[in-house]
Structure formats: structure tokens, C-alpha cells
């Protein structure tokens, strides 16, 4: 940096911080190829930025102190959601064994490895709060202040977690063989009927988040949601669908919920034609 004048030092900073107006960038970038001192300064600033971010990144993953969570507890939303949240930092060996749909014993055996967060343990916390903590703000309904545009999960007034946006679209539209957007991060896997004869479908939000949503009168309500590095198991074969490798805990949830077999392609198409109504 010492070789640069003040003007260039400020320019390097603005450039690296993304604060340089486009017209200035157009003038600045060609200089990088010609002026090693300038290019070196840019490289050093980028390295500093990257180092700072990786130094502080672990703080984001640290367990949240209970006191902070209690502060944000929301009294009236406690009773509503019948959602079973599972945070699964499961050991790779256990979680990576893909399980056949019927192997609920084996799936259960894998359970102690996963930290299970049943709803009542959260006491008075709202569904959205927990979702936010587990998933970050990414998949929540975007707040205008956050400038987000991704939207997959919302929270109904009664506290139930509902599918929104891309996820709702996929649940409504995607049937076997006709996935609308193969590049979408949101994917739908198996379809089955639960004991109330409602149609339920497994979905994935990203490489680490998956769950089950069931069609109810007012939309797709999320009945099971899990998150964790190994929540999507089965990468090396065994029982899975192309779109959504299923974790042991998810398979177990399906087993507990389903009434009858999972639907085949024709069954999915027929159910879709009926608007997924029971």
C-alpha cells in the first residue's frame, strides 16, 4: 500500500468493498493489468477481507445461549405447531447409511445420534423464531428490511409453518418425471397419504434441509423439518429418489405418518389433477 497515493488507496478500498461506481470501475480495472502495485494492493485487501470473514465465521455456528432465546420467546405461539423439528449434526457413519423405506428399526437406531428438537421443548418460542435460528433467514418469508427474495417457509398466524413461494410451487406442480425447474434448489421427492388421507410430500430446500409437507385446506403445512450437514443421507446408493436422498429420520417420519404405500407416477399425476385434495 505504501507505494500508492491517497487517492489510489481510497480507490482500492472502494473497489474491494464494492463501493466504486460502475463508471469508475470501468476506468480502474484496466489499470490493474498495468500497475503491479495497484493489483498487489487489491489482492492484499481481498485477502484481508477473506481472512477476517473466515476468522469470525465460527461465531455464527456457536450454540445460542438460552438467555438470548428466552428474550425472544413469544408467548401465544406455543401451542399451535404440530411440527417436529430435527437438527441433525449426526455422525457421518450413521447418517450416510441409506435405509429402505420399511427399515424403521434401523432408522430408529440412528436416532440417538441426531439432536431432536421436539416442539414442546422450545416452550413459548414461535415457529418462525426457531426456523430462523435453524435455517438462517434464507428460507423465511423475506422481510422488506432484509432485501431477501427467496421464500420457502412462512409462519401462519396460528404458528404452523407453511410452504411458500418456490416450495409451494414445487409441491403443487412437480410430479414424477415433470420437474418444472431442474435447477431449482427446492425439490419434491416422495408422495404418500397420511392417516387423515391427506396428501403429504417430502421436499428438500437445499443440500442440508429437508422435510414433509401435507396439503390441508389452506395450503401445504410443514409436518416435519430437519436440518443438518447429514440430513440428506444416502449419497452412496440404497433407497432414494433421484431428486431427494432421504435421511433416516425423515424415513422414520414417513413411516410413522403414512397410510399405505408411496404413490407412483400415475398416482401423483391423479392426485395433482384433484388439486391434492383428499
Amino acid at each position: 500500500m505504501s507505494a500508492l497515493n491517497d487517492h489510489d488507496r481510497i480507490a482500492v478500498m472502494a473497489y474491494v468493498d464494492g463501493e466504486m461506481p460502475p463508471e469508475d470501475v470501468a476506468l480502474f480495472e484496466p489499470r490493474l493489468a498495468l500497475e503491479p502495485a495497484l493489483a498487489g494492493a487489491v489482492a492484499r485487501e481481498r485477502a484481508l477481507r477473506a481472512s477476517l470473514q473466515s476468522a469470525y465465521a465460527p461465531v455464527l455456528e456457536e450454540p445460542m445461549p438460552a438467555g438470548l432465546l428466552d428474550l425472544l420467546a413469544i408467548p401465544d405461539a406455543a401451542k399451535a405447531a404440530p411440527v417436529h423439528l430435527v437438527a441433525a449434526p449426526a455422525p457421518a457413519a450413521a447418517a450416510n447409511e441409506a435405509l429402505p423405506a420399511g427399515a424403521s428399526d434401523a432408522a430408529r437406531a440412528a436416532l440417538p445420534h441426531a439432536r431432536r428438537w421436539a416442539w414442546p421443548q422450545f416452550g413459548a418460542m414461535a415457529a418462525s423464531l426457531v426456523l430462523g435460528l435453524l435455517f438462517g433467514a434464507r428460507w423465511l418469508a423475506p422481510h422488506p428490511a432484509l432485501g431477501g427474495d427467496t421464500l420457502a417457509l412462512g409462519v401462519a398466524p396460528d404458528g404452523a409453518i407453511t410452504a411458500q413461494g418456490a416450495l409451494r410451487g414445487a409441491l403443487e406442480q412437480d410430479v414424477a418425471g415433470t420437474v418444472l425447474d431442474p435447477n431449482a434448489k427446492v425439490g419434491v421427492g416422495l408422495t404418500f397419504r397420511d392417516h387423515a388421507k391427506q396428501y403429504c410430500r417430502t421436499f428438500t430446500l437445499d443440500s442440508a434441509s429437508s422435510g414433509i409437507a401435507c396439503k390441508q385446506a389452506d395450503g401445504w403445512v410443514v409436518a416435519h423439518l430437519e436440518h443438518g450437514r447429514n440430513a440428506r443421507a444416502g449419497e452412496q446408493g440404497g433407497y432414494r429418489t433421484a431428486a431427494s436422498p432421504l435421511s433416516p429420520t425423515l424415513l422414520q417420519a414417513i413411516d410413522a405418518m403414512r397410510d399405505g404405500d408411496t404413490l407412483d407416477a400415475a398416482g401423483e399425476a391423479a392426485a395433482k389433477a384433484r388439486g391434492w385434495k383428499p
Binding site: 500500500m1 488507496r9 481510497i10 478500498m13 472502494a14 468493498d17 464494492g18 463501493e19 492484499r44 485487501e45 485477502a47 484481508l48 477481507r49 477473506a50 481472512s51 477476517l52 470473514q53 473466515s54 476468522a55 469470525y56 465465521a57 465460527p58 461465531v59 455464527l60 455456528e61 456457536e62 445460542m64 445461549p65 438467555g67 438470548l68 432465546l69 428474550l71 425472544l72 413469544i74 405461539a77 414461535a126 418462525s128 423464531l129 426456523l131 430462523g132 435460528l133 438462517g136 433467514a137 423465511l140 418469508a141 423475506p142 422481510h143 422488506p144 428490511a145 432484509l146 432485501g147 412462512g154 409462519v155
Partner: protein
């Protein structure tokens, strides 16, 4: 989602990890950081009606936190300076994986920065706030922010040396 208190609380909850990260660099100390986040969230909840729709919630919370920290330091009467920077650096977040030496030296270097530079560096380089947002969080003009950023960066580069920055 509207800005009903419930939705706002959920958004604040979603921001907690970032609030803790900023607090960690501001206070340089794990327990102090969580205390600071606690104080800031309490204040935010008390004044939810002060948050203006259409402005960034994270900036608002960072600003509350900055003010809370200034109050705290004032109340402690310079107790802050009792902590030796070397010791302070030891308390900043660790990861089990990889380049721990580099991480420590960066955090030690951050801990040695004057507070006003440390906050500017943290908001822009770690939290990724635009200059305008960061200057509003710190209640300073953009020119002041950029000069703090420049001095903070130069000091960090000098402390770390070029070699340490390539993990």
C-alpha cells in the same frame, strides 16, 4: 410478512448469530459479547416501534448495540482497558477445523485496533454493510468511516504482514 411484533421478533432471532459475531469483535470477549447482544435485544424489543419499515433491521440492531457498548464502556470506567489485548484475542471464536494460528493472529490484530476502527472494519469487512449503512450505524459521515476503514486496514496489514494473510 408484515412488521407485526411477532414477525419482527422472528427476524431479530434470525439475526442473532450475526449480532453475536459483531459483538464478538466489538467486545473482544465471548461473555461480554453475549451480554452486549442481550442488552441490545432487550433495548430493541422495548423500542420496536422506533424501527422504520423499509430500513435495514440489521443496521438498526447494530446501531443499538454500538450505543449500548458505548454506555457499557462508560459505565465500567475504562475497565475495558484492563484486559490486555493478548488475553482478549484468546477469547474470540475458535473453530476446530484448520488454520487456527492464522485465525488467532487476525483476532489478536483486531483486538489491538482502536475501537472506532475495529467497529468500522467489522461492519464493512465482516458484516458486509455498505458504507452508507455502516456510517449510519456509527453515526459518522461517510468520509469519517472511510478514513477509519483505511487506518484500520493499514494497521491490520502491518500487524499481520503479507505472509499471514494467505491461508
Amino acid at each position: 410478512m408484515s412488521q407485526s411484533p411477532l414477525a419482527l421478533r422472528a427476524e431479530i432471532a434470525a439475526l442473532l448469530p450475526r449480532l453475536r459475531r459483531f459483538a464478538r469483535s466489538v467486545t473482544r470477549h465471548r461473555e461480554d459479547a453475549d451480554d452486549l447482544v442481550q442488552i441490545a435485544v432487550e433495548r430493541a424489543l422495548k423500542h420496536l416501534d422506533h424501527w422504520q419499515d423499509g430500513t435495514r433491521l440489521d443496521s438498526w440492531l447494530f446501531r443499538i448495540m454500538k450505543n449500548a457498548w458505548i454506555d457499557e464502556v462508560r459505565a465500567r470506567g475504562r475497565r475495558d482497558e484492563v484486559l490486555a489485548p493478548e488475553e482478549a484475542g484468546e477469547h474470540v471464536g475458535f473453530s476446530e477445523t484448520g488454520s487456527r494460528d492464522i485465525r488467532l493472529s487476525i483476532e489478536k490484530a483486531m483486538a489491538r485496533l482502536p475501537e472506532e476502527q475495529r467497529m468500522a472494519v467489522s461492519l464493512v469487512l465482516v458484516e458486509g454493510l455498505p458504507y452508507k449503512e455502516a456510517s449510519e450505524v456509527l453515526d459518522i459521515p461517510i468520509g469519517t468511516l472511510t478514513s477509519r476503514l483505511a487506518r484500520g486496514r493499514d494497521a491490520l496489514q502491518a500487524m499481520l504482514g503479507d505472509g499471514d494473510l494467505t491461508p
